[in-house]
């Protein structure tokens, strides 16, 4: 647990951070977000004593960090920055092995750890051990940087715009990987970014900063539903409803969907369509094939002929998706209802517009 108590930092008579208090629980991802120059990076750097606060106290697991030697403190906290800062004269292995070496680990323990970390960040160990930083792409360097930060298995990780220097496509990929890794490791993470979408994607709690002060500290859903003031309202933007949808997992909102098998008779199909005038079609394994429309069915010879020609993966979402993704596909394909499938393509159920609307109002009370 990390606690910041009334932290103030003054540089040359200019107050950069003012009376800032924050509590981050064990295993939580706290994202500090705000416009550039709001003091978020300074705040982060005070936690590993890269910057000393002018006043106030910081506690890690109830220990005052002022009483811990800076080098020792930093070795127990992972630190990853936007510019990565890999050591250009060392290969990937030596870069990652730096902290364990400083801590005096045995050779084979270091080797095993480096291998484990490379696998964790999704890079093949044999292929990357001997590479030098200038031979890596931006995304690879970023992942090595994270691996280096995690090397000594610190309970706390500080990240300063860790995905900032990566192109948008790779950023999303790295964020997804970050979430997967965090699900496994359960570290206490404080991450700084100016990108609100990134914050909403990654955070358990979001701290919004402005001019060195904490404006609002809440979980993403609350923050989007109830902005504390005009600044947060504007910062969150007019599309905050959509942003909120991106936080809501579809899993809980799936309702059972009626379906027929591809081999069903026309009569059975007609009956099942009922007043809706259409129905999902699955094969014998319950794998989604598409849907049939009652009008087309009456003009076709068999049920199979009437099934929509669109690839099922284009009109469906998986159970890991957010409501925002579901809505986006519905708008894109002009559907009022969307099927939810599992990883193997089996039909799990469906979600429609009304459900999404309800989810928004229910959360937004």
């Amino acid at each position: 647990m990390i606690v910041l108590n009334n932290i103030t930092k003054i540089y040359n008579q200019k107050t950069v951070v003012r009376d800032f208090s924050l509590k981050v629980n064990q295993g939580e991802v706290c994202v500090i977000v705000g416009p550039s120059g709001c003091g978020k990076t300074t705040t982060l750097r005070m936690i590993n004593r890269m910057v000393e606060p002018s006043s106030g106290d910081i506690f890690i697991d109830n220990r005052d960090i002022k009483k811990i030697q800076p080098d020792k403190l930093r070795r127990s906290i992972g630190y990853a920055i936007q510019m990565v800062g890999l050591f250009p004269h060392m290969n990937v292995f030596s870069n990652i092995a730096t902290v364990p070496e400083l801590l005096g680990w045995k050779k084979d323990r270091i080797k095993a750890r480096v291998e484990e970390l490379l696998l964790l960040v999704g890079l093949k160990p044999e292929e990357y051990y001997a590479k030098y930083p200038h031979q890596l792409s931006g995304g690879e360097a970023q992942r090595i940087g994270v691996a280096r930060a995690l090397a000594a298995d610190p309970a706390i990780l500080l990240m300063d715009e860790p995905f900032g220097a990566v192109d948008p496509l790779n950023r999303i990929r790295l964020q997804t990987q970050f979430l997967n890794i965090q699900k496994r490791l359960g570290k206490t993470i404080i991450l700084v970014t100016h990108d609100l979408d990134e914050a909403i994607r990654l955070a358990d709690k979001i701290a919004i900063m402005k001019d060195g002060e904490l404006v609002q500290y809440d979980n993403p859903e609350e923050l989007l539903a109830k902005p504390a003031n005009k600044f947060v309202y504007d910062f969150v933007g007019s599309d905050r409803a959509l942003k909120r949808l991106s936080r809501i997992n579809i899993d809980k909102y799936i309702r059972p969907a009626p379906s027929i098998k591809t081999g069903s008779s026309k009569e059975h199909a007609h009956k099942m369509c009922g007043p809706c005038r259409w129905i999902w079609v699955v094969d014998d394994n319950n794998k989604l094939k598409g849907w049939i429309d009652i009008d087309i069915l009456s003009r076709s010879v068999t049920v199979m002929d009437a099934v929509s020609g669109i690839n099922p993966s284009e009109i469906s979402v998986t159970r890991n998706s957010s409501l925002k993704e579901a809505l986006s596909i519905m708008l894109d394909q002009g559907l009022k209802t969307i099927p939810v499938i599992d990883d193997n393509g089996f039909l799990l159920g469906e979600v429609d517009m009304a459900i999404i609307e309800n989810a928004l109002t229910e959360k937004g009370r």
Partner: protein, 369 residues
């Protein structure tokens, strides 16, 4: 090749008369050299691999034949003259060497071989030249005659020269690195250090050597201890001090930029993952600055090899001694005896340091620079 190859002087100071190949070494050698040049022209005109190879071969052979001509020619001329006569190389020899090298380089460029084979073609000539010198092939030439008569003095001054350079560059580098590091640490120190080293670099070497005489002799006059350990107004001490001062600037400047050019994020990351100041210096800053610092030491060394020649003026000795003696006696051969080894020493130092720098950078990963 029809120019004068030799100049024969009745003694080492008089002006000489010119002789060409046929006059001195005989017609046979002249014809062989002529045929070789014809072959060079023909094979040069045809742009084929085989002819390029022939070109390189001819040029190298021409070089060897020239060497033989020099020796026999000079020997023949000496036989006719009085015992005190000296033979020195003339325009023809220098031009032939130049021409050979133009042709050899052209041939090496045209050949489709790798670097190694090309280097063999290029360096064959000099290798033979060196072997020839040491096997006494030029003993008839005046410069070697000069060397023979000064042999022990030459070795003494040659090693004295190396000693002057080695001592002053090591001391200058050590001091320069320390000053460079303190300049990085403290802005005020930086300004002072750079001011002084920049100014000292603008003082003419002769003046600096001279300037040091007075204070040092005053010091040694005052303190007997200094006199006992050999610190005097003239001799090695002022020379070494002056050379150290000249070595400082390149080393200080390169140490400073070597550390400053390191990406700030690298230092930030090093600090952030828990390295202390000493570890950052030892593991990050020192290795990353090393190639640039070594570059500064290389410049300082090459510069000192040349500057040390001036040190002879204040009695420090070294190869400069021959130059100033030669100048004083108007004996060009003696000047050459000092100059040629200095040039060779400078080239050798330069190449040696470059090799070391290359090894250092290669150890820090492939293709970074």
């Amino acid at each position: 090749m029809f120019l004068n190859w030799f100049s024969l002087k009745p003694n080492r100071l008089a002006t000489g008369t010119g002789y060409n190949i046929t006059d001195s070494a005989g017609q046979a050698l002249a014809i062989i050299l002529f045929v070789l040049w014809l072959l060079c022209i023909i094979s040069g005109a045809i742009n084929k691999n085989i002819s390029s190879f022939l070109l390189g071969l001819c040029a190298n052979t021409a070089l060897i034949i020239s060497l033989i001509i020099i020796n026999t020619g000079a020997g023949n001329l000496l036989k006719e003259g009085p015992a005190s006569a000296r033979v020195s190389p003339g325009t023809g020899i220098w031009l032939t060497f130049l021409a050979c090298y133009i042709v050899i380089f052209a041939a090496a460029r045209r050949l489709p071989f790798g670097r190694k084979l090309k280097n063999i073609i290029i360096w064959t000539g000099p290798a033979i030249l060196i072997i020839y010198i040491f096997s006494g092939g030029f003993k008839n030439l005046s410069i070697l005659a000069e060397f023979e008569s000064q042999r022990s003095r030459f070795y003494q001054e040659f090693f004295n020269h190396i000693y002057l350079v080695a001592i002053s560059v090591s001391a200058g580098s050590l001091l320069g690195i320390l000053l460079g590091i303190s300049a990085v640490v403290n802005r005020k120190i930086k300004n002072v250090v750079f001011f002084i080293t920049n100014i000292s670099q603008t003082i003419p070497s002769l003046a600096l050597f001279g300037l040091l005489i007075a204070p040092l002799s005053a010091l040694s006059f005052r303190f007997a201890v200094l006199r006992e350990i050999g610190i005097k107004g003239i001799g090695n001490t002022p020379a070494i001090i002056a050379l150290v001062i000249y070595s400082l600037l390149p080393v200080v400047r390169n140490t400073y930029t070597g550390i400053k050019q390191i990406e700030p994020s690298v230092i930030d990351a090093a600090k952030g993952i828990g390295m202390n100041r000493l570890q950052i210096f030892r593991r990050i800053e020192a290795p990353l600055a090393a190639p640039i610092v070594m570059e500064g030491i290389r410049i300082a060394s090459v510069q000192s090899v040349g500057l040390a020649a001036v040190a002879a003026l204040i009695g420090a000795g070294g190869l400069g001694w021959f130059i100033f003696q030669g100048l004083g006696q108007a004996a060009p051969d003696m000047i050459l005896l000092g100059t040629i080894p200095i040039i060779a020493l400078a080239i050798f130092t330069d190449q040696f340091m470059r090799l070391i720098i290359k090894i250092i950078t290669l150890r820090q990963g492939p293709g970074r620079h």
